[in-house]
């Protein structure tokens, strides 16, 4: 599983960081910063799904 952020869709809610801080960090403005490039470790998959589901902007996408 991989995740990506749709360009210009993050508005800085920071809820992905709350749900999965190992995958979604925050930059100096509070926008999402993807910490894991490429294939996600299996043990982070459920956290990734939770983070994607809680983004109010629908900015995060899972590529299976």
């Amino acid at each position: 599983m991989r995740v990506h952020v749709q360009p210009d869709q993050c508005a800085g809610h920071t809820l992905c960081n709350l749900a999965a801080p190992e995958i979604f960090g925050l930059d100096d403005e509070g926008h999402v910063l993807l910490l894991v490039e490429g294939e996600l470790p299996a043990d982070l998959e459920s956290a990734a799904r939770a983070a994607v589901a809680t983004c109010p902007e629908r900015a995060l996408v899972i590529d299976e």
Partner: protein, 431 residues
């Protein structure tokens, strides 16, 4: 044109469906017409009942009050309108009313701007409101909270809105702007009159605010040194390769003050009311303070202080079966969307571990609340210290008083409590 009464006629917000007789493009939904006045004290008393009723029968309704406005109450239309900044513009005002002619230079920045300028204006201060900077400010916000609680902790009674949730956000934003914090009561009073007042009093408060902010800006100019605080960021800010004009600086500072005060106090008061009346919720929060962070999102959803914001339709458009015309006002009701059962199962229930929780208390899209990280920090510190120092607080009145016009900010004006007295944390100040 024919009309028929809806089944909601006996409810809290009667609806008349006006049949469309000019259906030329296949849209045949009737136009639901209501007479809802968001400034009516009755609205503040029944707001959530009204949302529930309208969301079911007509999530996109037209109110004939004032200049008239579309009233959006379901999650999907509110979300879709907010994400469409070309059709639903902000530069003609984010309140209920149409902007009066010739008042372009009173628009607040960046809330009453449109893209691409919105993002450029936000860049000027966004770092000051980042999660990182909120974390830097947290210890002094906590100290301020504890000093404010010290003022009443020994007596066993106090007012958590008047003595804590009102002064703390006001003093925090004034400190960030480098202003004289001790004048917070004056500033709060002007802001309250401006936000909640009407007619001449409102205009007078607006004038007073503009004069005072201009003085702050000019005093800083004469001091020679810009400094590195929030006011400095605004005064040295640039857009399109030019410095902000004095008018722009003024309108930017105004929004910092408007945004920073009532809303955070409203969230805190609304949440304290839930905690005071729900023993299980209180127990859970007292014991599991790690849940305060997710609980913040649930309190934002459930007790949304900024109940809605306005937009103007920029061009004729069909939206959710309704025909909107260029120039129409639209109210996006975050608070109503945040109780939509289609998005939030059992929406009236507080579930501090609710997931997902895609609430729109801060709005969504480009205009999303700039101060949200700071607001969350101030809120969490206040709740945390209340639960640490007066965990058994009891409300001493039956009904929490709120500002009359919930259309602007849904917020308690007082929250008197009694509790087991405790000790001061800091010695009394020598002032």
């Amino acid at each position: 044109m024919t009309t028929k009464e809806s089944s909601g006629a006996a409810g809290v917000c009667p609806v008349t469906f006006v049949d469309r007789v000019d259906g030329v493009d296949g849209v045949d939904a009737a136009k639901p017409v209501i007479g809802l006045d968001l400034r009516d004290p009755d609205f503040a008393k029944h707001n959530y009942d009204i949302y529930d009723e309208l969301r079911d029968s007509c999530p996109v309704a037209w109110s004939t009050e004032g200049d008239g406005f579309w009233f959006l109450t379901a999650y999907a239309p509110v979300y879709d309108a907010t994400k469409n900044d070309d059709t639903f513009i902000s530069s003609e005002g984010a309140g209920i009313d149409k902007r009066p002619e010739g008042t372009g230079d009173t628009m607040a920045i960046p809330i009453e701007t449109d893209p691409p300028d919105t993002v450029l204006y936000r860049k000027i201060t966004i770092g000051k409101f980042s999660p990182k900077n909120a974390a830097v400010l947290e210890p002094e916000i906590r100290r301020m909270a504890n000093e404010l609680i010290d003022e009443f902790i020994e007596s066993g009674e106090g007012d958590l809105v008047k003595q804590l949730s009102t002064p703390l956000p006001a003093r925090t934003i004034m400190r960030m702007l480098g202003m004289d914090e001790s004048r917070w009561p004056e500033w709060v009073s002007w802001i309250h009159t401006f936000v909640h007042g009407q007619g001449p009093a409102k205009m007078q408060a607006m004038q007073q605010l503009l004069v005072e902010i201009t003085t702050e800006i000019r005093t800083r100019q004469h001091a020679g040194e810009a400094g590195d605080d929030l006011l400095a960021a605004i005064m040295t800010g640039r857009i399109h390769d030019r410095p902000l004009s004095e008018s722009e600086q003024l309108r930017y500072v105004l929004l910092m003050l408007l945004g920073g005060m009532d809303t955070t106090s409203g969230l805190t008061g609304n949440s304290l009311e839930r905690i005071a009346t729900d023993p299980d919720l209180r127990r859970k929060l007292v014991q599991r303070r790690d849940l305060l962070r997710p609980a913040t999102e649930e309190f934002l959803r459930h007790g949304t202080p900024t109940q809605g914001l306005g937009r103007m339709v920029s061009k004729d458009v069909e939206f959710y079966g309704q025909r909107m015309k260029a120039g129409d006002r639209v109210m996006l009701m975050w608070a109503a969307a945040n109780r939509d059962p289609a998005e939030f199962p059992d929406p009236d229930r507080i579930d501090i571990e609710r997931h997902p929780n895609r609430h729109m208390a801060f709005g969504v899209g480009l205009h999303r609340c700039l101060g949200s990280n700071l607001a969350r920090t101030m809120f969490q510190v206040m709740i945390d210290e209340i639960l640490n120092r007066l965990p058994d607080f009891e409300l001493t009145i039956d009904a929490v008083p709120r500002f009359d016009n919930a259309g602007n900010v849904y917020a308690p004006t007082a929250f008197p409590v009694r509790f087991t007295p405790g000790d001061r944390m800091y010695p009394p100040s020598s002032e």
